[in-house]
């Protein structure tokens, strides 16, 4: 009895050893590509053609879009990473700041790509990826229930009231507590996530969820929920069930649901996002995109580039990827006529705002989602949004700084004050004292002369503040006619630096 079992065990082990691990053929003309499930299938199908045309052997591994970024950052440095990866555009910030991908150059190819698509893969004024698809949400409307597209959210409310009075359940529904799907409403009323700074980047200190427009949107939502015009606790499945059964006339979704919308058999239209009285004419959804990037860890960047420009960046390949994926294409010449929904989504995307790829965006989602959920549960709209803004500001603060352990008056005056050299944030002789509540002070007797200084935190330059409390801001000038006792003050809450000479 036992012997038989033992034999069985040996058999299983032998079987396993036979199928265990196999060595991959790694040679100079093979490229390893990480792609999400659908693109992996397509690339696998096209691999023989690539080999015939370019002499490049493709090895495809399936890695979900959500995993690609993190896995690249773990596997890349130890030599296990891919040569090319498909990523979503909002991973660029992190990938670039870790030098994990290499810049691309589409000079001479600009007319082949939609500027909006190329824009998504532009970060810090450089292009980092080859986009193949873009996406944004639009308003889906049951034409039989709502014959004419509403142009403002106020109209949406009126339609909802009428439909409910007529015995239909809901005029409009939206994912509860989901910032991405609710953003077009926020933007229609003039709300935003981050304001823009002069150089075109985001000003993360300006959070627009509780701006006038942001609050107007929140109040509109709150009213819809309060008066029973919108159901709470709505997720993907519920949105769809309600639309399919005719219990909801309008909802917000993106091209990923294209086929399912058609399958409902409902007479539908895809409309741009309504605007708002007192806000914008048309609401702006977030736009997003997927594309190929080349790993900076790859030993075969030249080969990867060749593949990317000579095979991927062609209308033929882009057509193939469109035919399979059904998202609005990034290439101008791709024929989208086979998919009737694309035009609608593209039209709604005309005003779309690229979803910020900056790391600070990570602080937004949870707080904003919470606020939207609370509003759906009848909590005060203004209060909920204001709390969300406070939460985001706090989280960004942590993201940017971490704990403050020390603050240094660092500048050209340090050598005079007993430091081994100037501009040394690690020099303890010019450390400031923590007086509590984020106020740091220091008093030194400074010899006559002209100096410049800043305040550096935690003994390094990673976080430092200059004139007018700006992070990485300009040096502060200190001119002394005679030896003077100067008191320096740094307020961590406002980041403002004062000294007893400039600000007596």
């Amino acid at each position: 009895m036992l012997r038989k079992k033992f034999l069985f065990t040996v058999l299983v082990i032998a079987l396993a050893l036979g199928t265990m691990g196999r060595l991959l053929a790694q040679d100079d003309q093979s490229l390893l590509i990480w792609a999400d499930a659908e693109r992996a299938v397509l690339l696998t199908d096209l691999a023989p053609q690539v080999e015939a045309d370019l002499g490049i052997t493709l090895e495809i591994q399936e890695i979900g879009l959500g995993d690609a970024r993190d896995q690249l950052l773990v596997a890349g440095p130890v030599g296990e990473g891919p040569d090319l990866v498909i990523v979503a555009h909002d991973t660029l910030g992190l990938l670039v700041s870790n030098s994990a991908i290499v810049p691309l150059d589409f000079a001479g190819m600009e007319d082949m790509l939609f500027p909006s698509a190329l824009n998504l893969f532009t970060y810090q004024n450089q292009v980092w990826g080859l986009p193949y698809a873009t996406e944004n949400v639009a308003l889906i409307r049951n034409v039989d229930l709502v014959p004419e597209a509403p142009t403002t959210w106020q109209q949406v409310r009126t339609i909802s009231e009428e439909l409910q009075a007529a015995g239909n359940q809901y005029g409009f529904i939206v994912h509860t507590g989901n910032t991405y799907h609710n953003f077009p409403i926020t933007s229609a009323f003039g709300g935003y996530i981050f304001g823009r700074s002069e150089d075109g980047g985001f000003n993360v200190a300006d959070i627009g969820l509780a701006s006038e427009g942001g609050l107007a949107a929140a109040e509109w939502l709150s009213g819809m929920y309060r008066d029973g015009l919108m159901p709470t606790n709505v997720n993907d499945d519920v949105v769809f069930e309600l639309f399919t059964s005719g219990d909801a006339a309008m909802f917000i979704t993106g091209p990923w649901y294209s086929q399912r919308i058609i399958d409902t058999g409902i007479n539908y239209a895809i409309d741009p996002i309504p605007g708002a009285e007192g806000g914008l004419e048309v609401g702006a959804p977030f736009s997003g995109g997927q594309g190929f990037v080349i790993s900076a860890f790859s030993e075969k960047q030249l080969l990867a580039e060749t593949f990317l420009y000579d095979f991927l960046a062609t209308t033929e390949f882009m057509q193939a990827i469109f035919d399979q994926g059904g998202r609005p294409p990034a290439f101008v010449d791709v024929d989208t006529s086979a998919n009737p929904n694309i035009a609608g989504f593209s039209a709604a995307g005309a005003t779309a705002i690229p979803m910020p790829a900056i790391p600070e965006m990570g602080a937004v989602w949870a707080a904003s989602d919470s606020a939207l959920t609370l509003i759906s549960q009848g909590e005060d709209a203004t209060g909920s949004m204001e709390i969300a803004v406070a939460q985001i500001a706090e989280a960004i603060n942590i993201l940017q700084t971490g704990a403050v352990v020390s603050a240094t008056v660092a500048g050209s005056l340090q050598e005079e004050l007993g430091c081994p050299g100037d501009w040394q944030p690690e020099c303890e002789a010019t450390f400031m004292t923590d007086s509590g509540d984020g106020i740091w002070t220091a008093t030194f007797t400074v010899p006559a002369g002209d100096y410049e200084y800043k305040v550096a935190l935690n003994g390094g330059w990673a976080e430092n503040y200059g004139a007018e409390g700006a992070r990485d801001g300009a040096n502060i000038v200190l001119s002394l006619a005679a030896d003077t006792e100067v008191t320096f003050t740094f307020d961590y809450n406002t980041k403002l630096i004062t000294d007893s000479v400039n600000n007596p």
């Binding site: 910030g93 606790n233 003994g459 330059w461």
Partner: protein, 536 residues
């Protein structure tokens, strides 16, 4: 205890029964196996050392030495039984734990992902075309010996074609009166095209052409530069990095993990991992998130873990007892049906439950609404959300308890029951005074483990409620059903971008300490359970 004493005296190195040929064979096999293990161990350790991987070399050294000590020291005879287990646990459990502890003292986060060596390597790979360098279009040539050469062409002054031929490791020479197209062969080199060119691209891209001061390198798929220069050069002696393009010198700041420009705040990406001592822990103490509803979350975590254990154990045991009774017909089938929840992947089960409890359309919600006229707000009402979590966790967990208790019930000797029956004990007395104490001997530690598992049951919360409903007015986003680990990890990971492994490790260790205290308290009980069993 006398029994235990006699059992623990180790046999003297296999010499116990020399007449037994199996025993001798066993001894020989054991030492032969050990020798093989040692040989392999040494090779692996040497391999890791030569790969500059000291930490794994140490781990394998510990494992190899440990195996030898266990084999040769007679007093460690009991450990021989555990040798394979100990080896695996050391490498795959204890070592990762040590790594977590070490990580908690570093700044390992999304901006400091790499080791310093990795960061330097990434930076040193960057090349640039210096000012005044010539850029050419290029073709790749190769000779019989496999050496590469570049055919460099550009529009010279006055629009004339200017061509140079650059073999690897030999001077670059200008080609006089060049042809408009590169020739098929040139000075023993053959023009590569098509698949040959593709195959050569990677190697040629890493080759330096020319010699001495006059070199050329491929800079992109279209261009070669003469010369192409390494942008950053790291000097380990001074711990500085020089940017050849701008002449800027960056100093490695080993406190913040960045190469920082002298006298400035400018830092280079990527940063690198450095030790920051206990900063992650002090940050944890000062984290505004912890000013939030931490007490509520902690209480709920304990309640959740406790109720999960109690409900699953009660139902599992009840089922095991009921189905132990021979008068129940079809027990085999029923047991198999009851085990099905355990066979389903947890992800889909939890999500199906979420669908069934959905406030708008869920079948459970609608059935209750139709029957009792109450629309239950499963995910908006804090109390109901907690009830939902307990119910779903019960569904997921009771088959495990049923399995374990069914097995454990078998170990209870029946004569104990006979004696009790003679003493006139009723069924309830028999259960509480005999079955339960004896059962706890076997499953007691499992209950602790189950408690701890649920204490950290991140997936359950994340998939079913995501911590919702949110707590209004909390300084950081938090929900009524958040448990300690889901709440603190959202502090450390944000939702998308702010992954901070160092901080998360610190949180992990603090949670571990909390859980360990709870475990130790419960562990004291197992001592009494064990004593029960020794008296059987």
């Amino acid at each position: 205890m006398s029994a235990a004493g006699s059992a623990s005296s180790p046999p003297s190195g296999g010499a116990g029964l020399p007449s037994d040929p199996f025993n001798l064979l066993f001894t020989i096999l054991r030492y032969a196996g050990l020798m093989l293990l040692n040989a392999l161990g040494l090779v692996i350790i040497y391999g890791f050392i030569s790969d500059d991987n000291l930490s794994l070399a140490i781990v394998f050294a510990v494992i190899t030495v440990g195996a030898n000590i266990i084999t040769f020291v007679p007093a460690l005879y009991p450990l021989r039984w555990m040798t394979p287990g100990l080896m695996l646990v050391t490498l795959l459990v204890i070592y990762p734990i040590i790594i977590t502890v070490v990580t908690s003292t570093t700044n390992y986060n999304n901006f400091h992902l790499f080791t310093k060596a990795q960061a330097v390597r990434l930076l040193e790979r960057q090349r640039y075309v210096p000012e005044g360098a010539a850029t050419y279009a290029y073709q790749i040539f190769q000779n019989e010996a496999g050496e590469f050469a570049l055919w460099l062409s550009r529009e010279g002054e006055g629009g004339a074609l200017e061509v140079a031929f650059a073999p690897a490791g030999a001077p670059i020479v200008a080609v006089a009166n060049p042809p408009a197209e590169p020739p098929e062969t040139y000075e023993g080199y053959r023009l590569l095209a098509g698949a040959d060119r593709t195959a050569a691209l990677t190697a040629a891209g890493q080759t330096v052409f020319g010699i001495g001061d006059d070199t050329a390198q491929i800079s992109s798929r279209r261009e070669a530069a003469r010369p192409l220069v390494q942008r950053y050069v790291y000097d380990p002696a001074t711990d500085r990095l020089t940017d050849n393009q701008t002449g800027t010198v960056y100093v490695a700041d080993n406190k913040t993990g960045f190469f920082t420009r002298e006298n400035s705040a400018e830092t280079l990406s990527p940063g690198f991992r450095v030790s920051i001592g206990l900063d992650n822990f002090s940050r944890l103490v000062s984290d505004p998130g912890l000013r939030g509803p931490l007490v509520d979350i902690f209480v709920w975590t304990v309640v959740f873990a406790f109720l999960s254990v109690v409900t699953t154990f009660a139902v599992g045991l009840a089922m095991a007892l009921v189905l132990n009774d021979p008068i129940v017909r079809g027990r085999k089938i029923i047991r198999s049906l009851l085990i099905i929840p355990y066979a389903m992947p947890g992800v889909i089960s939890i999500l199906v439950w979420r669908g069934m409890l959905d406030q708008n359309l869920g079948i459970i919600t609608r059935t209750i609404a139709d029957t009792f006229g109450v629309q239950l707000q499963w995910f908006s009402d804090p109390a109901l959300a907690k009830v939902a979590i307990i119910i779903v966790n019960l569904w997921l967990g009771y088959p495990y308890m049923m399995l374990v208790t069914s097995g454990a019930l078998q170990a209870i000797p029946s004569d104990v029951y006979e004696a009790a029956a003679v003493d006139g004990a009723n069924p309830s007395q028999r259960f509480w005074q005999i079955t339960m104490p004896l059962l706890l001997v076997t499953v007691g530690p499992l209950l602790i483990a189950s408690f701890v598992y649920n204490f950290n049951n991140y997936m359950m919360i994340e998939l079913l409620t995501r911590g919702d409903p949110p707590i209004p007015g909390s300084p950081t986003p938090a929900g009524y059903t958040d448990i300690l680990i889901s709440y603190t990890y959202s502090l450390a990971f944000g939702s998308n971008q702010g992954a901070d492994y160092g901080y998360a490790s610190a949180i992990t260790i603090v949670i571990f300490i909390l859980v360990a205290i709870v475990t130790l308290m419960q562990y004291r009980f197992t001592r009494s359970w064990e004593e029960v069993s020794e008296n059987v």
